[in-house]
Symmetry: C2
Subunit: 420 residues, 2 copies
C-alpha cells in the first residue's frame, strides 16, 4: 500500500500503522501518511487505473490505508462488505437559478448503502480493522455512523457495539437495531457518548471505528474529494460547501484535493472551503466569527442531530482550513435548515436530512450575501438522507384528502386552487 505510517499532526512523530490515534509525546491527533510520490510519474496511467477500477471507493485504493490490493471487482476478503462511494454528482441548474448562481453541483452521498457518507469511513475503518485482526466493531454515533457500523458488521459477519445518545431520532434507532447489533442508548449527548467510548476502547479489544481506528476511518472522507474531481472531468470546483460536526469531513475533503494537486492529477488550486453548522451547535462558526484559533465547547440544541458535536475534535484544523482557502464557517437556524431541506427537494429532487438542509441553507446565505462570484462552479455536499429525519419536514407542506371521485377532485383540489 501507499500508506507508510501514522504521523502526529502537531509534532510529526511517527508510528507504525496500528490501532492508535493519539501521539504519545504531545497528545496530538495521528493521521495516515503516504509514500506515493512515484504515482506522479504516470498520470495518464493513474487516471486510467482509477477509471477502470470498481464503481466504489476502492477505485482510489492507492490513496487509502489498506494493505491488500483489491481484486478486479474491488473485492478482497477485507472489503467484501457494502460497496460505498461513487455517488452521483448532479448538476443543479434549478437550484442555481433560484440562488442567482451560474453553476451548482450536488454531491449526493445519501446514495450510499446506508444513505450517508459514513459508509465511506466505515468501509475503510472496518477493512483496516480486519487487517489488524479485530473481531468486534464499535462506535460512538450521532446516528448515521450507527446505521453504517451495524450494517457493515452484518455484511462482514462481525459482532458490533453501537453507542448513541438516547434522544436520537427513532428513524436512526430502528435503522440500526434491525441489523442485529448490540445497541446501547446512553443518557447524555454525543460528547458524553464519545467519552464513554474512549474509556471503553482502552478496556476492550474492539475496533472503535471513530476512536482507536480514527486515523484510518477519517481517510475514507477523502474519497468524496476524489470523486468530485473525477466526476468533473479531472477538474476541481471553485468552492465546496461542507457540513461541520467534528470537522473531520471538512478537513479531509481538502486533504483529498491537496493530495491530487500535489501529484498533478488535477491542476489549479484548493477550492474555497465553506463550512456549515447549525446555530444550535456552532462552536466552530462561533470561533470563526470571533477570530479564535480554537473552539469553546457547547451543549448542542438543534434539529441537526447528526451535526450535534459540541466539542469538535478537528475544530482548530477546520478554522485553519477556512482561513487558508479564503473560505468561511457559517451557522444557520433550525428554521433555515428546514427551508434548506425544502429548497433542495423542490429544485433537485434530492431529499436530504437536516445536515444537508444545513449546507443548503448555508449556500443560500452565501449567495444572498454576495460571497459567491457568478462565474464560480460550486459543489454542495449532501451527506445524508431525508428519510432519517422526517420530523424536520412534518407540517412544511399541504395535502388534500378526498373520496375516490372525480367531482370531489374538481371541487376540493382544483377548487381550492391547487398549485397548477
Amino acid at each position: 500500500m501507499g500508506a507508510s505510517n501514522l504521523k502526529c499532526r502537531e509534532c510529526a512523530a511517527e508510528y507504525a500503522l496500528e490501532a492508535r490515534y493519539v501521539c504519545e509525546r504531545c497528545f496530538g491527533p495521528l493521521e495516515v501518511a503516504y509514500e506515493n510520490a512515484r504515482l506522479a510519474d504516470d498520470i495518464p496511467g493513474l487516471r486510467r487505473r482509477i477509471q477502470g477500477g470498481p464503481q466504489n471507493i476502492w477505485r482510489y485504493a492507492d490513496f487509502l490505508p489498506l494493505t491488500a490490493q483489491p481484486g478486479p471487482s474491488g473485492r478482497t476478503s477485507s472489503r467484501a462488505a457494502l460497496p460505498a462511494g461513487c455517488t452521483p454528482l448532479i448538476r443543479a441548474d434549478r437550484l442555481a437559478e433560484r440562488l442567482g448562481l451560474r453553476e451548482v453541483w450536488v454531491k449526493n452521498d445519501a446514495a450510499n448503502p446506508t444513505h450517508s457518507f459514513k459508509d465511506r469511513v466505515v468501509s475503510v475503518a472496518s477493512a483496516r480493522a480486519r487487517e489488524l485482526g479485530y473481531e468486534v466493531l464499535a462506535c460512538a454515533s450521532t446516528g448515521n455512523l450507527a446505521n453504517s457500523v451495524a450494517a457493515h458488521g452484518a455484511a462482514l459477519g462481525m459482532e458490533t457495539y453501537v453507542f448513541i445518545p438516547s434522544d436520537l431520532e427513532e428513524q436512526k434507532i430502528l435503522a440500526t437495531g434491525v441489523y442485529g447489533t448490540n445497541l446501547v442508548k446512553v443518557r447524555g449527548n454525543y460528547d458524553d457518548v464519545n467519552r464513554l467510548c474512549t474509556e471503553l476502547s482502552g478496556e476492550r479489544d474492539w475496533a472503535f471505528v471513530n476512536v482507536n481506528m480514527r486515523p484510518y476511518y477519517a481517510e475514507g472522507s477523502k474519497t468524496l474529494a476524489y470523486e468530485i474531481a473525477e466526476q468533473l472531468g479531472w477538474e476541481l470546483p471553485d468552492r465546496c460547501v461542507v457540513p461541520i460536526a467534528s470537522g473531520s469531513l471538512y478537513t479531509k475533503i481538502a486533504k483529498g484535493f491537496e493530495e491530487w494537486l500535489g501529484l498533478g492529477l488535477v491542476e489549479g488550486e484548493l477550492p474555497v472551503m465553506n463550512g456549515a453548522q447549525a446555530q444550535g451547535c456552532s462552536p466552530v462558526a462561533t470561533a470563526w466569527e470571533a477570530g479564535h484559533d480554537v473552539c469553546r465547547p457547547v451543549k448542542p440544541d438543534t434539529i441537526a442531530k447528526s451535526l450535534a458535536i459540541g466539542n469538535p475534535a478537528d475544530g482548530p484544523y477546520a478554522l485553519e482550513l477556512a482561513r487558508r482557502s479564503d473560505g468561511a464557517i457559517d451557522a444557520v437556524s433550525d428554521d433555515e435548515i428546514r427551508a434548506g431541506i425544502r429548497l433542495l427537494a423542490e429544485t433537485t429532487g434530492v431529499f436530504t436530512e437536516t445536515a444537508g438542509g444545513t449546507t443548503t441553507a448555508t449556500l443560500a446565505k452565501l449567495a444572498a450575501r454576495g460571497d459567491i462570484d457568478p462565474s464560480e462552479r460550486v459543489v454542495l455536499v449532501i451527506t445524508g438522507e431525508g428519510l432519517k429525519t422526517l420530523d424536520a419536514v412534518r407540517g412544511t407542506f399541504e395535502s388534500h384528502e378526498i373520496g375516490a371521485s372525480f367531482d370531489e377532485f374538481v371541487e376540493q383540489v382544483e377548487g381550492a386552487g391547487a398549485r397548477a
Copy 2:
C-alpha cells in the same frame, strides 16, 4: 430509437408511439415493440457500447422507447433528471449459508435516487412524456411511485399530481410532500385510487406515468434484468425471486432477459421466475395455487402496502410466466415478512422495506421446501428501502439504555449477557 410502435398483447394490433395504453379493438394492454434485430450483428460492439455508457439506465438506451440519443454522460434534455439504475448486485454468502444455498445475489434497488425501483420506470415515463410534449406528470401510487414522481417532477421542473391511498405509511407521505407536489390522499385502497386516475387521465392533458404512459413506464423495469446479466459478466442467473404487485415488474424482468437471449447478447435460457406476494393481498398466488389463468380481485390487508394491489393488471401474464419458466408464485404472512426484513439485514447489511421482506421470506420458503437445487445461482430482487416502512421493524429487536459510565455498561449491558 429501436422502438417501432405500440402493439396489443392480445390481438397484436399496432399503434404509433403515443400516450395510449389500451387496444381500441380488443381492450388488451399495449406494449412497446422494437425493431432492433440488427443489434445482433455486432454483439462485442454492443457490449462495449453498453459498458462504455453512463452509470445509469440510459446505458441501455437501445432497448428503451425514447427518441433522442443520450449524450456522452447519458444526459439529453429529456433525461437530465435523477439518474436511476446501476444499483449494486451484492453476493450474499451469509444469507446463502443461513438458507443452505450455494450462491445468492441481492439486487439492491433501494440504492436508486428515491430508494425504490420506481425510479427506473418514472425515468423512462417522464422522459417520454417530455418528448410527447406533456407539462404535467401524475400517478396513482402505493407510495414508492409517489416519491419518485414527485422527485422527478422537482428535478425536471414539471408540475406533478400524486394520488395515494389516505392510509399510506407516514414516511412515504412526508417523503413525497417535501418535493412540492400536489398531493392528493384518496379515502380508499390503491384500486380506488387507480380507478380515479384512469378517469382523470381522460379528462386532463396530463402524463399519468402508470396510466396513459404505462407502456413506456413498464419498459423501465427491463433495465433490472439487463443490469443483473451485465453484472454477472453477461450471464443469466438460474433463478430470480421478484415481488408481485401489478405483475408488471415480474413480467418485464423476464422480457428483458428474453430480449437479450433473442439477440444473443447472453446465452442459456430464461431463469426460473419466482413471484412473491403477501398473504394479505395475494390474488396472483391464490390463482396460481388453484391453477387458474386469471386472478380474482381481493381487498388488501397486509403490512406490505407497496404490494397491496388487489386487482393486478398483469396478473394473467404473471401466471403465464411462472408456468413457462418452471417457476411459482408464493405468498408469505406479515410475520414472515417482518422476519424476512430482519434476515436480510442481519446477513447482508441491506435494510429493505416490506416488499423486500416479502421476497426474502419467499426465498427462505423455497429453500426450506427444497425447491432450489444447491447448484443454482439465485438473484433476490430487493425493490425498496427499509426507512420507508419503519413500523415493520419496531419492536423486533432489543436495546440497552444506560448512563454515560463504564460501570453501568459492564453491569447493565455485559451483565445482561449482551450478544458478544
